[in-house]
């Protein structure tokens, strides 16, 4: 978007073209890719809700306030190995979970299945 200078740390209220509305604090904005990285919710601890939004889908926005950088650069370092491990474990988990999701079933049926499986060990028949 031209003319829009997104400063880091600003709190924005945004409406997207898809109808989403939310507020967030800017972590970063990459012009090249036009992606706005937002942090939603209040920063309460090390975990945050992150949203990557393509700026071209912003219908409208408004600046709420300006705050300091939510990202403490000094603390930002990653361990790629552990990331990989996390991913692997998530995949494993997802694979296990996928057994529980019915294919070709309505969401209603899925809900039922989920509820039942809490108490009984349900096996999905394929």
């Amino acid at each position: 978007m031209e003319g829009e200078e997104f400063a880091v740390g600003c709190f924005l209220s945004i409406k997207t073209t898809l109808g989403d509305e939310f507020e967030g604090q800017i972590i970063s904005f990459d012009r090249l890719s036009n992606i706005l990285v937002l942090q939603e919710g209040l920063e309460s601890g090390p975990r945050r809700n992150i949203r990557l939004l393509k700026a071209n889908y912003i219908k409208e926005f408004s600046l709420l306030r300006q705050d300091e950088d939510p990202l403490d650069v000094k603390k930002c370092f990653l361990d790629l190995t552990s990331l990989q491990a996390r991913e692997d474990s998530a995949i494993r988990q997802a694979e296990a979970d996928s057994e529980r999701f019915g294919v070709g079933v309505t969401s209603e049926a899925q809900t039922l299945f989920d509820a039942l499986s809490k108490t009984e060990s349900c096996v999905a028949a394929f």
Partner: protein, 642 residues
């Protein structure tokens, strides 16, 4: 960077399931995907590492973007697409070099944007998750991720969390690192208005003046008629005009006892003293009743500690040296005759009382002098000593080899004669005296556990008496004329020397020679019942009731079984109750200060000994009623005999 051939013509095919493959953006990612995950990983990596490639003042923002996307790897994200579809999957990679197309793994279509209207919501049919889903940047509207760890602390906690979720190992579950912590104990405070226990305070205080009669209450509430008669269980208290005085006296004594200094941890705790000098004392040591051979608590003392023992004994028994003197004269004489006094115990054994003696001896003794085997059981001042001595003597005799062999025999003979006297104590005492007199070797010194005076009693409990005891135990009855182990009973610690000679057998050093045999031996070889070198009977204040099974403490007796055990012809083995019974002789009135806690740990051998002869107590209880008495005083009595 591996996206080199990323820009293949859209129509290029690829092996991966692609939702948007046909769309223009899809092609871009194909190559990446085709090259394998590693590429993506690498892309990501490179992306994150080399954020600066884009250059320009935007590099920092680019870097941040790359960083953020990297943070998302492995995270569950929701990707919104232009057409309204929403996919949920594990964020795998993004094209950081270009326009950030997304690759998801195990993606599921959460909302199908292509469906129109309500249909999309209610009749959403689930499909199998897509192993790998490539989303071109063009389609991408937004990526939403929740609870993303952005900073290092976030990562740390996240990893922890994940680990815990996946695999719960026992140590995590038990949180064992908390176990070692000592709890901060707080006194219990009853609820403010809990009406049901208003008298908690009253019930337990002033126990003598309770105005609550349990029997009466029981009768009232449940109609239970009680047949409780206090006198069945304890000494009959003479309540008469002097009751008050007696009570006062008793209280005084009690106070004195409780106020005594003690080195025993448990006692100290009870009395409110703090003995915890070394901090290796943990809860177990303080409150467990498991004996682990700890030195400071109730271990056997070495000879040099006889004095300490003596003092303990005095503590326990008061100065009862006199009692010793009262010893059965006959016994002594007999002993003299025989030389080896097999601690009349043997005889006693036969007769029953002897067993007591044996017991006594055992109890008492536990230390042996250096002499060979010592029956060193300290003879409690009381009668016990006698019994001990007797048994000891026997033990000694049996066990020891030193002294006069005849002693043994003599002891045996003694026994019969002694028998009636059961006052084992007396016997022992006499024995002690004998020993003291330096009688000949014949008398195996009774283990000199100092009788009463010394705390030998305490020793009894544990010391695995070395050879002597063990041997003696069984021996005792056997009267194997061993040697007159002279058990020096420590007359308040003084008779040692006298015993020494006799004590050859007594194996002074044997530690707590409880073994009855020791006692026997001692008796027989008595010179003086006080064996100065005997390992004193260590009264183990903690000792609980006699547990015959306590064999683990003592090392196996070196004494050959044969010799000692089967003295049958000589002395009825079975009567080896002695070793086992630390009981107090029948003559012991209820208040018998038998301190010998049947902790006769050294009883090990006797027990072993018993096996061959059959069940220990299956034997005809020659002792008859004495048998009963054996166990009666539960050796907790540490008091003095008044």
């Amino acid at each position: 960077m591996n996206i080199p051939q990323a820009l293949l013509p859209k129509s290029s095919s690829n092996g991966f399931a692609r939702r948007r493959g046909d769309r223009e953006g899809g092609a871009r990612l194909e190559s990446k995907v085709q090259s394998g995950k590693s590429n993506q990983g690498r892309i990501q990596a490179t992306g994150s590492l080399s954020g600066g490639k884009t250059g320009g003042y935007e590099s920092s923002s680019r870097d941040r973007l790359v960083y953020m996307t990297t943070c998302l790897i492995g995270h569950m994200v929701e990707v919104h697409l232009k057409n309204g579809s929403i996919y949920s999957g594990i964020f795998h990679a993004t094209d950081a070099e270009k326009d950030f197309g997304i690759v998801l793994k195990m993606a599921r279509l959460v909302k199908d944007g292509t469906l129109q209207g309500n249909k999309a919501v209610t009749e959403f049919i689930s499909k199998a998750p897509t192993k790998i889903l490539i989303i071109p940047a063009k389609e991408l509207v937004q990526v939403i991720a929740k609870d993303v760890a952005v900073t290092s602390d976030g990562f740390a906690s996240e990893l922890q969390h994940e680990k815990q979720q996946e695999v719960l190992i026992d140590s995590v579950i038990s949180q064992s690192r908390h176990v070692g912590l000592e709890r901060e104990l707080e006194p219990w405070v009853p609820d403010e208005d809990y009406p049901q226990c208003p008298e908690l305070e009253n019930i337990f205080s002033g126990s003598w003046n309770r105005n609550w009669d349990q029997f009466e209450t029981n009768q009232k509430l449940f109609g239970v008629k009680s047949t409780f008669n206090e006198e069945l269980y304890t000494t009959k208290l003479e309540r008469g005009p002097q009751t008050r005085e007696l009570e006062k006296e008793a209280m005084r004594i009690a106070r004195e006892i409780e106020g005594e200094e003690t080195r025993d941890l448990h006692l100290a705790e009870e009395r409110g003293l703090d003995l915890h000098d070394n901090f290796d004392i943990d809860e177990e040591m303080r409150y467990s009743s498991v004996y682990r051979g700890r030195g400071f608590d109730d271990s056997g003392y070495e000879e040099e500690e006889d004095i300490l023992l003596d003092s303990q004994n005095i503590e326990t028994f008061g100065d009862s040296s006199d009692s010793l003197s009262r010893g059965p004269v006959d016994l002594t004489s007999l002993q003299r005759n025989e030389g080896v006094r097999m601690s009349s115990s043997t005889s006693f054994v036969d007769e029953a009382p002897s067993s007591k003696a044996a017991i006594g001896a055992d109890l008492n003794h536990t230390d042996f002098n250096d002499e060979a085997k010592q029956l060193a059981s300290e003879i409690p001042s009381e009668s016990f000593s006698v019994s001990d001595s007797e048994s000891r003597i026997q033990d000694n005799l049996l066990g020891e080899h030193g002294g006069s062999k005849d002693a043994k025999e003599s002891t045996e003979k003694l026994s019969p004669s002694e028998d009636p006297q059961l006052s084992n104590s007396i016997d022992s005492q006499s024995l002690l005296i004998d020993k003291l007199d330096g009688s000949d070797k014949a008398v195996p010194s009774l283990n000199s556990t100092t009788h009463a005076q010394s705390s030998s009693l305490s020793k009894v409990s544990e010391k695995p008496s070395a050879s002597g005891d063990l041997a003696e135990g069984p021996a005792s009855s056997k009267v194997t004329g061993e040697t007159p182990s002279v058990n020096t009973r420590g007359q308040p610690g003084s008779s040692k020397p006298s015993n020494s000679d006799c004590v050859a057998v007594s194996s002074a050093s044997s530690g707590p020679g409880l073994s009855p045999s020791s006692s026997m031996g001692s008796l027989s070889s008595e010179k003086s019942t006080l064996n100065p070198h005997a390992k004193e009977f260590k009264l183990n204040p903690n000792a609980k009731s006699f547990t015959p099974s306590q064999t683990s403490v003592r090392p196996p007796s070196p004494v050959s079984d044969g010799s000692f055990y089967y003295q049958t012809p000589v002395s009825p083995v079975p009567h080896m109750h002695m070793p086992v019974n630390f009981g107090i002789g029948p003559s012991f009135p209820g208040h018998q200060p038998v301190v010998f806690n049947p902790q006769v740990a050294p009883m090990q051998s006797p027990q072993a000994y018993f096996h061959p002869t059959g069940p220990q107590y299956g034997q005809p209880m020659l002792l008859g009623q004495r048998q009963v008495m054996y166990y009666q005083p539960d050796m907790q009595y540490k008091g003095r005999d008044y």
